[in-house]
Symmetry: C2
Subunit: 610 residues, 2 copies
């Protein structure tokens, strides 16, 4: 029954040889691997606006938002250029954990691993929350069910990934292409209408004429928020192996195409938002992108609806990339003994089931704590992402300096500049958004590192204790077999017969509660007891456990190199309710002995036919 339900939900088990790598052409690799990065435009502009709006109407009217966006796009191209080098250096896939561990050492690798763990979890939470927000923007009456909708999204992704969804490449390309179609239409139509007839929007929320001053800190905070646009940039360099040969070249080209698309969309949306005068809604009932689409497509509302659905679709696809990425990271870290080894193995559908479940659990907790609010989640997000950018590029710089290949000076320069830039942004992220939630991550990452170390230490120590050395010899261990004998019937006889085959030293042990029973037992013993000695222990307090444990303690010390095997006879009734009619003393004894040293228990079952 359980098996059937399992099969329907997750499909039949897949044999190991099915795990051959499916190689992707660029036209599929782009939408699948770039969805995480490109989908960020759904929330990045809004994050900048939410800070700038605090500075009042003048700040909104000035081109503050487009200029901040431009700065982020510059940073994006720095990082992309730097990651092209990683792609060529690590054709097997160069995630921040591997690069940092290889080139900087375990401690930095672990820091990157912790940052990535946080990052993957937040990608799921933020993308799903943002996808749900895109839908709520067109159906505002769904707003009260925000958290439930997010959790259903996580559940669907979890089930899909437990089944193993990799095979359907084309289906996964559609959402990205749909989003690109919608987003570019929005830009073209929006820019055209803006420059001809002009577009404007009634402010959805009153903007203070004079806000707080637009200090450097506030600008940095807005910049830090907008950096959410860059999340997911690393995805392509992690998955070079997924490309068709020449892998590195194809991956590198795809990365640059992705950066161009992302940069164009992000800049365009920020520009339109400024020109139209969009103000973000505090209560989150409509996203900035939705407001732009609503006014741009006021002549064709179905286009607005299409943009929203496509946004939701690409965001869910973005969340899905974490469901592939985190379990793979967990498996690699488990191989290196930093993660519990349950994360190492693939399940019977060739997916890392434990990693999928752990990710779904962590993301659900975040969604519940932050009420599925994208804006509340984002301050936690970018610190981890930029920390891993920094470590990865720093690692690459060190690597190039060490290898001194042709042109190494340029490579070191590119990686170093990228590392310094993203390192500065990491600090900006952590400080400007510290009170908004970044503090949690600042505490969480070192904590995770310590946990990874503790796990590692345990496995290493365990390995040292379990490892066989030349001193270890194979020495057979002999047995004192003790059969618990409350009475003598067919079930007990079978246990005695079994015990007789195990050892030369078999004893039957009877704990006397009622002397009448003992007399009956002795009488039967003479007839059916074989030549097994019967030991009778008194139990003045009618307990079965205490005298048994005392006897076993003594028996343990009789000889060297002997183990005690306790044989517990059981009979298995034919019907389930019959079990209620028997003392569960066998189970109780077994449970008690489970925690005793140097005692092995063996239950010999006798099946009753009716």
């Amino acid at each position: 029954m359980l098996k059937t339900v399992r099969r329907i939900l997750f499909g039949s088990p897949l044999p190991s040889w099915r795990a051959v790598h499916e190689r992707l052409p660029k036209v599929l690799a782009l939408p699948i691997l770039a969805s995480d990065a490109i989908s960020s435009v759904a929330y990045a502009t809004e994050e900048i606006l939410r800070v700038v709006v605090l500075a009042g109407a003048a700040a909104i009217a000035a081109p503050t938002v487009p200029y901040i966006s431009l700065a982020i796009v510059v940073l994006l191209f720095m990082v992309a250029t730097s990651y092209r080098q990683t792609i060529h250096a690590y054709p097997g896939g160069g995630g921040a954990y591997i690069v940092a561990k290889d080139n900087l050492g375990d401690a930095y690798g672990l820091t990157a691993g912790a940052a990535l763990t946080v990052d993957y979890t937040l990608t799921v939470a933020v993308s799903i929350a943002s996808g749900v927000a895109a839908i709520i923007s067109i159906y505002p009456y769904l707003a009260p069910y925000r958290v439930q909708m997010c959790l259903i999204g996580v559940l669907i992704l979890t089930l899909g990934n437990l089944r193993g969804v990799r095979e359907s490449g084309l289906m996964f390309a559609l959402p990205t292409y749909a989003f690109l179609a919608g987003a570019f239409s929005l830009l073209i139509v929006g820019l055209y209408r803006e420059h001809t007839t002009g577009l404007s929007i009634a402010p959805s929320a009153p903007v203070k004429q004079v806000g707080i001053p637009l200090t450097t800190f506030l600008v940095l905070r807005a910049f830090a928020g907008g950096c959410a646009a860059m999340t997911g940039t690393e995805a392509i360099s992690n998955a070079v192996q997924a490309f068709r040969p020449p892998e590195s070249k194809n991956a590198s080209t795809t990365l640059m195409i992705m950066a161009c698309i992302l940069g164009t969309l992000f800049l365009g949306i920020s520009y339109l938002a400024w020109r139209i005068g969009v103000v973000p809604m505090e209560d989150g009932t409509e996203t900035v992108v939705s407001q732009i689409a609503r006014v741009t497509f006021d002549f064709a509302p179905w286009m607005h609806v299409f943009v929203q659905y496509a946004t939701c679709a690409i965001l869910i696809l973005a969340a899905n990339t974490s469901f592939a990425g985190f379990p793979r990271l967990a498996s690699i870290m488990a191989r290196d003994r930093f993660f519990p080894r349950q994360f190492y193995n693939v399940g019977d559908r060739l997916v890392f089931s434990n990693g999928i479940l752990a990710l779904a659990f962590m993301a659900s907790v975040l969604i519940i704590i932050f009420h599925g609010d994208t804006h509340a989640l984002i301050p936690l997000y970018a610190v981890g992402v930029f920390l891993s950018f920094t470590l990865s590029q720093w690692g690459m710089a060190k690597r190039f300096r060490k290898l001194r290949e042709p042109g190494w000076r340029t490579k070191v320069a590119i990686s170093s500049v990228g590392a310094v830039a993203t390192g500065v942004v990491t600090v900006v992220q952590a400080t400007t958004k510290f009170m908004d939630g970044a503090a949690i991550v600042v505490v969480l990452i070192p904590t995770l590192c310590m946990i990874f170390w503790a796990i590692h230490k345990h496995y290493i120590e365990l390995g040292n204790q379990l490892r066989l050395t030349p001193e270890d010899k194979f020495v057979p261990i002999y047995n004192t077999v003790i059969v618990l004998t409350p009475s003598l019937h067919r079930g007990v006889l079978r246990a005695l017969e079994y015990a007789k085959g195990l050892s030369a030293d078999v004893r039957a042990l009877h704990i006397e509660v009622d002397p009448v029973d003992t007399a009956l037992l002795i009488e039967r013993w003479e007839r059916w007891g074989g030549d097994i000695p019967l030991v009778i222990l008194e139990s003045p307090y009618r307990s079965l456990i205490a005298p048994l444990l005392d006897y076993l303690e003594e028996a343990k010390h009789e000889r060297e190199n002997y183990l005690i095997t306790v044989v517990i006879p059981e009979f298995v009734p034919a019907k389930w309710w019959h079990k209620l009619l028997h003392n569960q003393s066998g189970l109780l004894l077994k449970f008690t002995l489970l925690f005793r040293r140097d005692i092995v228990t063996a239950n010999v079952r006798y099946y009753v036919e009716k």
Copy 2:
């Protein structure tokens, strides 16, 4: 820790030799054994009044209640006289179950057993509910907590009885003597004041001038309600052994004293209730006895309070008698294999713990269902009591006719008259109160009988299957020992060494998930594997379970008279959280094999030191 809590709550275990019978002098036997019967006066009069009041003011004004009470007292003396004969015939204690089973056969014995089971449960529920009602009569603001107070009462009795409370005889005599002092004071002062100055009460509830006609049915219903006064009459005859020698004579005398006290109090209270004109309160905030005491002792309210506390005390004592009686009945019926055998043994405090817990559970369920309302519970009560009276006396009549001892004709006559009278009352109970709840009992008693039979049948069939016959011979069984070998380390080596001592046919079984692991295993095997053959199974679906089960099925059929022993190596980590870092595959395998036939599992544990 758990052990300490246990000891504080229930006391230290008691050795078996402490179970010598404490013999009671009459002056202690009376209050302890008669509390159940005598306490019935706390609610019996009220039960009559509640029916008579339906017939309107004229029926209350006429001496209906005293005359019905008189009829019940006559019946009481018939039953008491009849039970004197039981006491002499069964000096070892003659409960209805034993008497009916001995003289009428198993089916009647079981019916009596079922009736008594219902009876004991209701004694607890009714007595506690009535005791709580006595307290609420003086503190009406406690009325909303009725159910909670009842459950606390059950809990206290349960804990007390699990500790074993028999030793404190004198403490148990006090409530009865206090109640007798209070009740007789009430009668004497009440009758005196009534016949000199007169007493009257303002009707607490309006009585209809013209009610429904006082038909024979209504009178019978009132009579049936009042019969609650007789519950507990059998207690003394069940416990003849508790008396000092000459046991039967002392018990018989005590029974007659009890009947006289009960009869006097019941008649007196019913008479006073009529003369004063008490009307029962529908909402149950004050009992009839409390109303009488309030008006009788209006010059000394503390006497009223005393009567109420004493009433509560004797009722709790009455409930306590069931906590001694039911577990003893359950143990006797378990010995006869009609009850689950868990009820047979005494626990470490020399009490039948399972019987006590079962009774407490059933009584609590009743209290919750009927909201702790005495009046709602009583219709369920008397059917069982009178059914057991009938069966007991019928059994005695049959016994006397069979034994034909001197004077047997008189004895047969007394028992027969008693049996017929109580038999008729049983039918009256079942019919007049059918819709008030007696229907439940009418269904429940045959259902219980069927359950008892099913239990009996199971034990007999099981005994036949397990019993050794001359054909059974002691034939040692040999072993195919299979050691599960995921890898080779010290923990596995120990399991292999252990297995080597068990049998000549030991095999190590490795299920291949990753060929790299297999190669490593084979390399180590040559060095440390002893001469044990290593069997390697492929698992294309990476499952450990399926290939193992297939292999075991084959191995089973290799030879006759062999069992398969599966040795599962385990290592036990030093810290609890280390367990989270290891696959629980050992546990999973053990659980799977638990339900396979002809396979014994043995876990060999290796303790890791740090």
